[in-house]
């Protein structure tokens, strides 16, 4: 199963500038997912950087890469749940994340996510991120819990 951007927006509550997943290439609910994030020089994280900075100044921030992987894990979990189960996944912990190579504007990152366990309203995922044939990050354990939609929704007037 493939999910385009519109389908991701229907699943995830995240919006600009924190929706960090562009597409899902393949998902097997309950098992695994491959998500895509294209990094561009237009990203807000590159705004306001002074001129004449070295190339490494444009390395994609680790926090955003981890969040992007986490959003892939969230989609996988949401599609794996029994129908009628309410609540949104909230990212709570990452353990043993290893960043192997920096990601730069122009790179297309593929997150390969596995759903390891679902325990008492908490889900655990692991996997790795790739740019082409190069593994750029490993994720040993990413944890999320379910919280009621009301608890995280923006108040409306």
């Amino acid at each position: 199963m493939r999910l385009d951007h519109a389908a991701l927006r229907a699943l995830l509550p995240h919006r600009y500038p924190m929706l960090l997943l562009d597409r899902v290439e393949d998902v097997e609910p309950g098992e695994s997912l491959t998500g895509v994030k294209a990094v561009s020089g237009c990203e807000p994280c590159y705004r306001g950087i002074a001129e004449d900075q070295p190339a490494d100044r444009y390395a994609y921030p680790a926090s955003l890469l981890i969040e992007s992987f986490g959003q892939g894990a969230a989609v996988l979990w949401l599609l794996s749940r029994r129908s009628g189960t309410a609540g949104l996944p909230m990212f709570t912990a990452a353990r043993d994340v290893v960043l192997l190579h920096p990601v730069h504007p122009g790179d297309v990152v593929h997150h390969r996510v596995r759903l390891d366990q679902v325990v008492d309203g908490a889900a655990f995922a692991s996997g790795s991120s790739w740019v082409g044939e190069r593994r750029v990050a490993e994720f040993d354990s990413m944890m999320a819990v379910v919280r009621p939609v009301d608890a995280v929704a923006e108040p409306r007037d």
Binding site: Q117, V119, D120, A122, F124
Partner: protein, 84 residues
Amino acid sequence: MSERDQHLEQLREIVAEVLEMEPEEVADTADFVEEYEADSLRAIEILARIEKRYKVEIPQAELNEMRSLKAVHEVVARYAGWQD
């Protein structure tokens, strides 16, 4: 080392990792919440890691019991069929 001690040391390592402590700092009977400032998320993480490691299913109702290393050992032994 007896089987019981081995299990206890393995569980101590799991608890220490989740609570971000050294294994030798985790006492047998210390209350995770009161003495190590653990919250309910850490408790779920400990439960999940134990289930994965020992391929055992522990009902979530037992979470309330699992407040110290000794209590965790007792619960896990019951569901994993350890003769400790």
